[in-house]
């Protein structure tokens, strides 16, 4: 079985996370990372408009950052209650399929395996969501750069629905009902599904196990190289810039 680098990034800001992913894509060491978003941030998909999706004033008031991903997909509210994963692998490594749908399916396998660890049955729905009991428990996105695939997503251990409703403008085309009820009908967390407290550590263990199986690799614990850190510290300027965040 092949070996793959595992990095527990701990708490990381969204711009730095994307800079790290890009640095790894450049250098090419296939890597699986777990991380926690801090400070709280609205993460926009590559093609989304800030003005259409985010209540910018409310974000300022609540001290919530706004960030744009290099990957597509929808706006989401990220904070320390959730756990997140990123996989970065050159196409030539064969770890992730090149074709987008197949790659989402591969990541879906990892998440569904992780849910099995909790004796929950997960299913991939649409292009990029994982559901439990017909409700979303994980959202996923991917992009390609430097001939590498970056695949990342959320694992809802717990979720702050009130804050999400405050900071995101949810289009009425997506809502039949309003407010918290709308969200509760569509989003579920590990805590809710299991009706008990779930620690981030427990969720980490499940994701590591789930992705090890799905990617058919053996993880070895490691850290970013000095070189990767240096590159990321340069790239982060792009992801922090107004031009990038407000480009649409």
């Amino acid at each position: 079985m092949r070996r793959m680098r595992f990095i527990d990034l701990g708490y990381v800001s969204l711009p730095m996370l994307h800079a790290i992913e890009e640095a790894i894509a450049m250098k090419g060491v296939p890597t699986f990372m777990l991380w926690i978003a801090s400070p709280p941030t609205v993460s926009l998909g590559y093609f989304q408009s800030v003005e259409e999706e985010v209540d910018v004033e409310m974000c300022k008031e609540l001290g919530i950052e706004i960030s744009r991903r290099p990957s597509g997909g929808g706006a989401a509210y990220f904070d320390e209650r959730e756990l997140y994963y990123s996989i970065v692998a050159k196409h030539e490594s064969g770890i992730l399929p090149k074709e987008p749908i197949a790659c989402f399916r591969k990541a879906g396998e990892g998440l569904i395996n992780a849910l099995k660890f909790f004796e929950l049955e997960g299913a991939l729905t649409g292009v990029n969501d994982i559901q439990v009991f017909g409700k979303k428990i994980s959202g996923n996105a991917q992009t390609t750069m430097h001939d590498a695939k970056i695949q990342h997503g959320t694992f809802l251990v717990d979720f702050d629905m009130e804050t999400m409703l405050k900071v995101l403008k949810i289009p009425k085309e997506k809502i039949s009902d309003k407010g918290i009820k709308f969200v509760e009908e569509r989003i579920i967390t590990l805590k809710k599904a299991l009706k008990r407290e779930v620690s981030i550590e427990e969720a980490k263990k499940a994701l590591i196990m789930g992705f090890k199986e799905a990617l058919n690799v053996k993880f070895y614990n490691s850290e970013l190289s000095t070189d990767e850190r240096k590159i990321a510290n340069e790239i982060v300027k792009k992801y922090m810039s107004k031009e990038w965040i407000f480009k649409r």
Binding site: F47, G72, G73, A75, E99, P100, G126, V127, T143, E173
Partner: protein
Amino acid sequence: MDIQKIMKKSIYKAKGGLIRIKIKGEDKIEKIVITGDFFFYPENELENLEKYLIGTKISEEEVYKSIKKFYKEKNIESPGLNPEDLTKAIILAK
């Protein structure tokens, strides 16, 4: 004049995500902005599609033909979102 105010808009739900269109032009596309929560590969080609569509006659047939051609030339992959969806979204703008 505020360009935002004279732009026609639409929101269209495709399987792969929500498409938001802002468009300027009566007979032909003068300016178009496509945003939304979809996936489109390679990402930077969406801006090029917006440029490519300038001058296209605003009819279902012409818009579809342009988008289809662009997809083929640039090897676009957009899971759950096809040239038909983008065309519909554009035609719906008012």
